[in-house]
């Protein structure tokens, strides 16, 4: 069921301790900052977070990590010049890290949404990120078996939604939004604008409303 809610607090209400939460965005583009802040405020803890990175500076995901609310990160690029909160937790052994090549991260999220039980990919074959994983040679190429990444909740940012929950994005802010929306049981979206049903060209919808559960407009 699709619901339009008035506040980001309403949007994240119901996220439970121990949830796996996907958070969209690559760098600042597509990061649902307001929803992340609301997740911070709502108190849910013991979270597994799926994001490309592991927080930057003193905002958003970095603060969730600083406050000890994240038990595990699944990401491709945790280490950045300003990822000090993750770095500190990691070095202290207080956060678990599943490091995933970025394309495997995207494809595993896509697989979850598409009902795929797992897939073989050449990415990572022969590297330490394939250690312990099933491998096989397919058409002469070494390949690694990768499994879907499902989530309880996705927090994403889009440009516009219509009354049916159809979404369009803006430029490279699209990134993880469409695949995370499909991979999570419950998808929460912050948008800049809500347009009437019929206000989006059906040819240009990127995320169909079937993947969306809650929408909140953020100024």
């Amino acid at each position: 069921m699709l619901n339009f809610v008035d506040t980001v607090a309403d949007a994240v209400a119901g996220i439970r301790d121990g949830s796996t939460v996907m958070i969209g965005g690559f760098g600042n583009a597509g990061q649902p900052f307001e929803l992340i802040d609301a997740l911070m405020d709502c108190g849910a803890t013991d979270l597994t977070v799926v994001n490309n990175n592991a927080g930057q500076g003193d905002q958003g995901l970095a603060l969730l990590i600083k406050e000890g609310r994240v038990k595990k990160m699944i990401c491709s690029f945790p280490r950045q010049s300003d990822s000090w909160h993750f770095d500190a937790k990691y070095k202290a052994g207080e956060i678990e890290l599943e490091l995933v090549p970025q394309g495997n991260l995207a494809e595993r999220i896509r697989a979850a949404g598409a009902g795929i039980g797992g897939f073989f990919t050449p990415t990572g074959y022969g590297t330490m990120l394939a250690e312990g994983k099933e491998t096989r040679i397919i058409d002469g190429r070494g390949q690694v078996f990768e499994t879907p990444i499902h989530a309880d909740v996705a927090l994403i940012k889009a440009l516009k939604a219509d009354g049916k929950g159809n979404l369009v994005y803006r430029k490279t802010a699209r990134n993880f939004g469409p695949i995370m929306a499909a991979a999570a049981k419950h998808t929460i979206v912050q948008v800049s604008e809500v347009v009437p049903t019929g206000g989006l060209d059906p040819e240009t919808v990127v995320t169909p409303g079937i993947y969306v559960n809650k929408i909140v407009k953020v100024a």
């Binding site: 699709l2 598409a114 009902g115 049916k164 159809n166 499909a182 059906p202 919808v205 409303g209 079937i210």
Partner: protein
């Protein structure tokens, strides 16, 4: 025609909700009323397509067609007919406000990823544990064709079957074990027939309501043990 569609009245005490077997349209109306508001639904080719005639605007049901669309409207008429806008049965249809188009892999991801609330399919046979056979007679020399049947059967959250209970020869299509080639294993959750509505699954076959027969009379037709379903909202 009012009583039999008041399906919420289907209690253990009054399983029989119609004094005669249902026709195809009555059955379609019944299925339509059982679909929860706001659902995303795929209606299979043939008899299930009739269900769309009985969905109300209040229900706000979004129809999916596996060739690549959500928000499918009624069959196109006259000037509305557009060769680029067809359903899975290749019939020209219309587009409702809030529709969206996508390619085939994205469309089947919707089905296979478990995002459809309900699909409604026809069937040759349904087993007591919800196995479905609806794509192939298995007859020697028959040319097989499967389309999206297996994806719908394994992907939707609920798989409703619509069929006559009996073949032309009088054999039950609800069976202990399917003799026709399977479409999917243990996937059917509910079977709408002219004589009764059945709930199938790991607990065996329960009867929600009967049309023009008693549970006892129904049991004589069906070769698997039937029990009355607890009275619950559909």
């Amino acid at each position: 025609m009012g009583a039999q569609t008041n399906s919420q009245a289907g209690s253990r005490a009054s399983l029989q909700t119609s004094n005669k077997a249902l026709g195809r349209d009555d059955l379609a109306r019944l299925v339509a009323r059982d679909i929860k508001p706001g659902s995303f639904v795929n209606l299979g080719i043939g008899q299930p397509t009739l269900v769309s005639n009985y969905l109300t605007a209040d229900q706000d049901i979004t129809l999916h067609t596996e060739n690549g669309m959500l928000g499918m409207g009624p069959e196109a008429q006259g000037d509305e007919i557009d060769g680029d806008l067809i359903n899975a049965g290749k019939i020209p249809v219309t587009e409702l406000p809030g529709a969206s188009y996508f390619h085939h892999a994205d469309s089947f991801a919707i089905m296979r990823g478990g995002h459809l609330d309900i699909c409604v399919l026809g069937a040759f046979q349904v087993s007591a544990t919800g196995d479905l056979a609806n794509w192939h007679t298995g007859a020697p020399g028959a040319i097989p064709a499967v389309g999206g049947a297996m994806d719908l059967a394994t992907g939707a959250k609920d798989v409703f079957v619509m069929m006559t209970l009996l073949t032309r020869e009088g054999a039950s299509k609800i069976v202990e074990t399917c003799t026709y080639p399977l479409t999917g294993v243990g996937c059917v959750t509910r079977v709408y027939t002219d004589k009764a509505v059945f709930l199938t699954g790991p607990d065996g076959v329960q009867v929600r309501e009967t049309f023009g027969c008693t549970l006892e009379e129904l049991q004589e037709l069906v070769p698997v043990p039937l029990t009355a379903a607890p009275a619950v909202a559909p």
